[in-house]
Symmetry: C2
Subunit: 107 residues, 2 copies
Amino acid sequence: MYRELLPGTLDLLVLKSLAKGPLHGYGIGLYLRQVSGDLLQVGEGSLYPALQRLVVKGWASAKWGVSETGRKARFYELTGAGKEQLASESAEFDRMVNMIQQILRTA
Amino acid sequence: MYRELLPGTLDLLVLKSLAKGPLHGYGIGLYLRQVSGDLLQVGEGSLYPALQRLVVKGWASAKWGVSETGRKARFYELTGAGKEQLASESAEFDRMVNMIQQILRTA
DNA sequence: TCTCGATACATTGATATACGATGTATAACA
DNA sequence: TGTTATACATCGTATATCAATGTATCGAGA
């Protein structure tokens, strides 16, 4: 079983990470770790494939740049379609969760 | 992408379905469909493997019986470990969801 | 100056999951 | 008699996550 993460939610979390502006992969990992209070530690073997998926689907674009620390880094940025995807996938997630929690709470 | 179901939650939903008493596979499918207001339609190709998993892990036991309609049917029942699993997995799900929703709602 | 830790990229292989398609069989009912 | 609903199950495919591994660079401190 997958433990670290609720399966199927990684792409959504990455989309959200990019919502405030471009970030490189490593930065996304740090961001998620930070906003989750160290609960989420997304491995690179999960994160980079996820970023590839977003680019392939046209939800993010990637370009090389220089990180805050002066290092070469690949920056990912949400496209217009990516912003729409974030909104709809987020709503869908809430819908799913509400349904499941309702079932779990029925006596 | 998986659409019908939030991945990783099927076993939890099946455990919950069995919480009120023994059920056969077909009955679980009907139950989930009913309590979700027709939103959830778990296919048999998902459901039966899930039941096998629960049995293998010792969370459910299976025995042949006769259904309400007089048909031969395999009834699944929660074990003690299964009840514990339902409780802990349910709590874990809530924990995960809270974390994700908190992240999604940060400005 | 050399080494080490942190930063940053990425791939590979193992494992698990979900789903559509398919196949079997029986009971009830029209 | 045939059709629908019930009930079991498996197979192949697509997808996802994760652990492990590999490469390279930068800055700080020994």
